[in-house]
Amino acid sequence: MPQIHERLANKPYAEYAYATRPRKITLFWRRCLIKQLYMFFKLNLKVMMMVVKGHD
């Protein structure tokens, strides 16, 4: 996925041109298997804890 999508490129004053965009390094980390494996366990744990804490 390119940082600014070709469908929306070259329209500097369009509303979407003001959106924040990921840098190349961000895109890399999003698909980096080691980081994502860590995130998978971290997020799952977070969600499970939230479910358990949210009711009695």
Partner: protein, 485 residues
């Protein structure tokens, strides 16, 4: 022996029925009434809608599961509730109409001691002329709709492969529709599939939404900790859309659809139309429109249900301005406000008000999302309602030791943004609590440390993991109750 009847075998009702039977055992009767012979894991319909899963992968037959658990299953629609019975029947009952083959149209009276209404939303396509899979737009709200949607999407992709340009319009199909999250993930998945086929130069993908700002998602938006800043979900959502090459129209109330054309009003009162080749627009939601009658046969529907057909529970329904809304307006035990032996769980309960700030156009059109109730709270509410009924049956007491207010519960929303074990990704968002509590969290309305917004492959794995885990749980296989909702 007590009799508990559960209406609706969706995420909430099915969860309630399984826990009721687990805790009540053979001494008591649990009956479930639902029109569909299948259980469906609704969140995965998105993948059916882009041809990456077959309907069979997101559903399974309910009858064998209920038989094994000892739950009585009636494949029928509940049509009316009679909480006081009538002149001949002294106990409360619900009238059902069978849809099961061979019994179609047969009516039956099911008596009960406790009732759980888990009938979810009615998809009100008729609320927007021209909307819906039978007319000019697609839907991913059920597996049938999603499969039909994929057929039309596939045809659009084929046209693009032959060099034809296509415009995709995805979002909300009613000025007060909710479930933006589902439409949002469908838009992202379409963009992903278009790009995967290297057809992006032939596509215009447009997100149309009734939200005042993107990222509202019917929960008034949220703040997330991200990159050294506390960022509103508006920034997060706009960023994702721009990255996926999706432009947007916000503050839009779609009021009519014709073949290839949608008509909408903006919050500033102006009227517009937009052409499309493929549209998936979420309809307005209502309750199941079940009628209620008292002992004398008088219609008491408006006492038991809100005007939108959802059931009134232990919430504060007093109309008040947005500035006076409080977290304490929201229910915590989901008990009917009229009959203490009736409960509503999941989407079937009437919320006291929206979570998003209400807005009205100069023409008097209300344009803002009604509150969503996602899968996670729907399951949790189903469980808590079951636990409280079990407590009442076993002790004979009327108190409720279990509660699950949406002002305490958290929600995790995993927005699929592309499928693939190494190439897929999803935006994982968690908020706690679901309903903002500005008294407890004056700065951001929610616990900023519990709120997460991250994008990556891990989110895709989580969504896939949840797909298998929740289907396993719903099939009541070994250890099912150990899996959180």
């Amino acid at each position: 022996m007590s009799k508990v009847v559960v209406l609706g075998a969706g995420i909430s009702g099915h969860t309630a029925a399984l826990y009721l039977k687990k805790y009540l055992g053979k001494q008591h009767e649990v009956i479930i009434v639902s029109p569909n012979s299948n259980y469906q894991w609704v969140p995965s319909n998105i993948w059916v809608g882009v041809g990456l899963m077959e309907p069979n992968e997101v559903k399974f037959k309910l009858a064998p599961v209920y038989k094994k658990q000892g739950i009585i299953f009636k494949q029928a629609l509940a049509t009316s509730v009679h909480p006081e019975g009538d002149s001949d029947i002294s106990s409360p009952y619900v009238k059902i109409s069978y849809v099961e083959e061979g019994k179609q149209g047969q009516e039956e009276i099911v008596e009960y001691d406790f009732m759980v209404n888990g009938t979810g939303p009615t998809l009100n396509f008729a609320g927007t002329p021209g909307l819906g899979p039978d007319l000019y737009t697609n839907s991913v709200c059920t597996y049938d709709h999603a499969a039909h949607s994929w057929k039309n999407l596939e045809a659009a992709l084929t046209k693009m492969e032959n060099g034809e340009h296509q415009t995709f319009l995805i979002g909300t199909g009613h000025p007060m529709a909710t479930c933006q999250g589902a439409a949002f993930e469908y838009a992202l998945n379409i963009a992903f599939e278009v790009d995967k086929r290297k057809l992006s130069h032939l596509a215009d993908i447009i997100w149309i939404s009734n939200e005042y700002e993107l990222g509202d998602f019917g929960m008034g938006g949220a703040y997330i900790k991200r990159g050294g800043y506390i960022t509103p979900t508006k920034v997060f959502t706009e960023s994702v859309l721009a990255e996926y090459g999706i432009r947007w129209i916000k503050r839009a109330g779609v009021y009519k659809v014709e073949e290839g054309k949608a008509f909408y009003e903006l919050l500033d009162g102006s009227y517009h139309e937009i052409e499309f080749d493929f549209a998936m627009l979420i309809p307005g939601f209502g309750g199941a429109n079940i009628k209620a009658f008292d002992k004398a046969g008088e219609d008491i529907t408006s006492k038991v249900f809100a005007p939108n057909g959802m059931m009134k529970v232990d919430a504060d329904y007093t109309p008040k301005p947005y500035e006076e809304w409080k977290a304490s307006d929201w229910p915590s035990i989901y008990q009917s406000s009229v009959y203490d032996f009736m409960y509503a769980s999941g989407i079937a309960f009437a919320p006291p008000h929206s979570m998003s700030k209400p807005y009205t156009s100069p023409n008097g059109t209300k344009i803002f999302p009604t509150p969503p109730r996602t899968g996670m709270p729907s399951g949790v509410i189903g469980k808590v309602v079951a636990q409280n009924i079990v407590h009442r049956i076993k002790t004979g007491r009327k108190d409720h030791p279990h509660s699950a207010s949406m002002t305490r519960q958290a929600a995790a929303c995993i927005v699929s943004a592309g499928y693939g074990f190494t190439k897929g990704q999803a935006a994982t968002m968690t908020v706690s609590p679901i309903v903002p509590d500005w008294e407890k969290y004056p700065e951001y309305g929610r616990d900023i440390n519990a709120t997460v917004g991250v994008i990556g492959l891990a989110g895709h794995w989580m969504k896939l993991f949840m797909h298998y885990m929740f289907l396993y749980k719903a099939k009541a296989k070994f250890g099912w109750s150990m899996i959180p909702e």
